[in-house]
């Protein structure tokens, strides 16, 4: 589903990603772990098409298409979804209006009819229930005055409504207490299908206790230096990142274990 080859990216002239290789197949869940400043969030934002980042080398194929040639909105319509580490507050724009606009854009891109306000209202009420969010929030401005947990639930709600093929979750557990974490993780797990995939970007292991990855990749200084299964995450949790840094060798090409074909 997602194939990243030798991806280099920079922001304001500074190289952040220095040759990423990664394959994520349909039905898989991968975790990218790394210390602060390793380039994890950059990878997530580059995949989503953030304009501040410049791809200087490499390629990304998503569902057979050249992802890097697509505008951010085209990537979303193609089925890529980024759950933001810091969701943006937009005063004055009602959450349900925002969601309906996105939902209908995705439908239009698939040559499906837009759905009207009433139908969307029913849909969103059902989805809100699934995510355990406070329904009143959908009538409020997007993320405006939301708590950290509400913002993360809102990202989950958007993901639930838009039904993407690839979910990229950037620090999805930050700002969540244990109960909220479990409930958000349940929501993420419910969205998993054999046709879709999940890429979890995280500093800490704790989300991976709830959303269990098929593969774990350690990102340090813009490169994947080690890949393994879920036990690698546990090892990071107990030993930190330093030992990986010390043991880091130039990453061999295409180290990702793949449990399926994209």
């Amino acid at each position: 589903m997602l194939e990243i080859h030798d991806l280099h990216a920079s922001v304001n002239g500074a190289d952040i990603l220095k040759g990423i290789d990664l394959r994520v197949g349909a039905g898989e869940t991968h975790a990218i772990m790394g210390p602060n400043g390793s380039g994890k969030s950059t990878l997530a934002l580059v995949l989503a098409g953030h304009p501040a980042y410049t791809v200087t080398r490499g390629s990304v194929t998503f569902d057979g298409r050249d992802l890097l040639g697509l505008a951010p909105e085209e990537r979303a319509r193609a089925g890529l979804f980024l759950s933001f580490q810091h969701p943006i507050e937009i005063p004055g724009l009602r959450l349900d209006h925002f969601l309906r606009a996105g939902y209908n854009e995705v439908r239009k891109s698939r040559d499906e009819d837009e759905i009207d306000v009433l139908k969307f209202d029913r849909l969103i009420r059902a989805k809100v229930k699934e995510t355990g969010m406070d329904a009143a929030l959908t009538k409020r401005s997007v993320n405006d005055g939301f708590s950290g947990g509400e913002k993360k639930r809102n990202e989950l709600l958007q993901m639930t409504v838009l039904e993407p093929k690839l979910r990229i979750l950037d620090e999805v557990d930050s700002g969540l207490d244990v109960d909220s974490l479990r409930s958000v993780a349940d929501g993420i797990n419910r969205l998993a299908t054999p046709e879709s995939a999940t890429l979890i970007v995280t500093h800490y292991q704790r989300i991976l206790s709830y959303v269990v990855p098929d593969a774990v990749h350690i990102l340090i200084d813009g490169r994947i230096v080690r890949s393994g299964d879920k036990h690698l995450a546990a090892e990071i949790e107990s030993r930190g990142y330093d030992w990986v840094t010390e043991a880091a060798q130039p990453a061999p090409p295409s180290v990702a274990p793949t449990a399926g074909q994209s």
Binding site: A48, A71, R75, I88, I90, S141, L162
Partner: protein, 456 residues
């Protein structure tokens, strides 16, 4: 025609002609009011000086002063007018329509509601609201008109207010008696035909007097519309008197032609515990200037001032507001927002005066401007003069482009560039539109704003 010595001279001539022709039936005090105003206008002259002219330093009225505006010809009546584009979405409205400054009885309505007595019977003091013509009220020498007309707009004195008063003959008189709540919106619609060349540019002087009695409540919409895209000049004055405990919501929707000059002076005077909400929405005009002045004369008075101005083309919109905290324990809350595109320019000068002894004053002021093009310009200037020490006063100003982080967030959900920009712009204006409490007026204004923004 001999060359005119000054830009004011044609107005003096028009004044003398009008006084000579049809002023005999007006009460003496009204004739005197006009004559004094004309003298004041002649003395002050148009504020065209480009130096030492603080109140007009951002706004150059020389093009206006040098244009010859004539009174609309008497036979310029509109005939059958389709008002459907201007209909409020509610079944009952107190509606007064003026076309090119003249009252249009066939277009004006009065809802057959209980408590709303015929608006035209001024000599009989009814217990319902009066929504009627100033000309009739003056003719019957209604004491409230005598008491208030021209007594308040002077505080925000400008040559334009004086000019309006010098020509005051008709307009709207709204009186809400003590304790009366008017559920229907009161709708004062001023339509200019705005004929393009070769028709001569015209000038009208819309005048509104609103007197809200003790513990009364009403919503008044003032709307300025144009049928054509010609050059004309609207010189409007509104005086608002809010009695003790009165709740008054005034909305002004300005949608003049893109070639029009619109200058307005509004003076609000508030008694104890009155609450006034003012919303000013500018969607049209070429050169627009509002002077909105509020006197919080007694403790417990509160005012909220909201404004929205959209700039396109070369439009110039200048909002000057002045809130006078004359006594202790009054509050004001002000939010003005501008969206400026192409080569337009927005000006906001927010003057708040907290007089000595006006303790426990609460005054908040915010002006935000969204610039949608490199050529657009916003000037924002808060002016806080505070002579009391136990007060809560804040102000803030912002000028900027659309937030790129917000744009990316919307795009990351599949929303394209144009739609994302439109959603953000609509989000920006929402706060102002939502500050209109009356459902029908809010819906009407919302549709007008949406149409003006040109995007869904």
């Amino acid at each position: 025609m001999s060359p005119q010595a000054t830009p004011e001279a044609p107005y003096v001539a028009a004044f003398e002609a009008a006084e000579h022709d049809g002023a005999a039936h007006d009460p003496a005090w009204l004739r005197e009011l006009r004559r004094d105003a004309m003298a004041e206008f002649t003395r002050a002259g148009f504020p065209t000086a480009r130096r030492g002219n603080e109140a007009w330093k951002y706004t150059d009225v020389r093009p206006l002063a040098s244009t010859a505006f004539a009174a609309p010809a008497p036979d310029d009546g509109p005939g059958e007018l389709d008002l459907s584009p201007y209909e409020l979405p509610c079944p009952r409205v107190h509606q007064l329509v003026f076309v090119d400054g003249r009252y249009a009885p066939q277009l004006s309505t009065d809802p057959p509601s209980e408590g709303a007595r015929s608006s035209h019977v001024f000599f009989e003091r009814g217990d319902g609201p009066i929504v009627g013509r100033l000309a009739e009220a003056a003719h019957y020498d209604v004491p409230l008109v005598h008491e208030h007309l021209g007594k308040h707009a002077g505080a925000a004195a400008s040559a334009f207010a004086s000019l309006n008063t010098a020509f005051v003959r008709d307009g709207a008189f709204v009186s809400i008696p003590d304790g009366v709540s008017v559920p229907e919106p009161i709708y004062l619609l001023f339509i200019s035909t705005g004929r393009p060349e070769p028709a001569a540019p015209t000038v009208t002087y819309p005048r509104v007097l609103i007197v809200a009695g003790r513990d009364s409540s009403a919503t008044v919409l003032l709307s300025f519309e144009s049928l054509g895209d010609g050059v004309y000049f609207t010189d409007a004055v509104t005086e608002v008197v809010a009695g003790p405990g009165a709740k008054l919501r005034c909305i002004t929707l300005q949608r003049e032609s893109t070639a029009a000059y619109h200058i307005s002076t509004t003076q609000v005077v508030q008694a104890r515990d009155s609450a006034v909400s003012s919303v000013t929405i500018d969607l049209g005009g070429s050169l627009v200037r509002h002077d909105l002045s509020v006197l919080l004369a007694e403790p417990g008075a509160s005012v909220s001032l909201n404004g929205l101005y959209l700039g396109t083309g070369n439009r110039h919109v200048d909002n000057h507001t002045f809130v006078d905290h004359a006594v202790a324990g009054a509050s004001s809350d002000e939010v003005y927002k501008g969206i400026l595109d192409e080569s337009s320019r927005g000006v906001f000068v927010g003057h708040v005066l907290v007089r000595p002894g006006a303790q426990h004053t609460v005054a908040h002021q915010v002006n935000k401007n969204l610039l949608l093009s490199d050529e657009a310009e916003a000037d924002t200037q808060p002016k806080l003069e505070i002579f009391a020490d136990d007060v809560t006063c804040t102000h803030g100003a912002a000028v900027g482009a659309l937030d790129p982080a917000a744009l990316f967030y919307l795009k990351s959900r599949g929303i394209g560039e144009a739609a994302a920009r439109a959603l953000l712009v609509h989000g920006f204006v929402r706060e102002i539109v939502d500050s209109i409490a009356n459902d029908a007026v809010r819906q009407y204004a919302d549709e007008a704003v949406t149409a003006a923004l040109g995007t869904g």
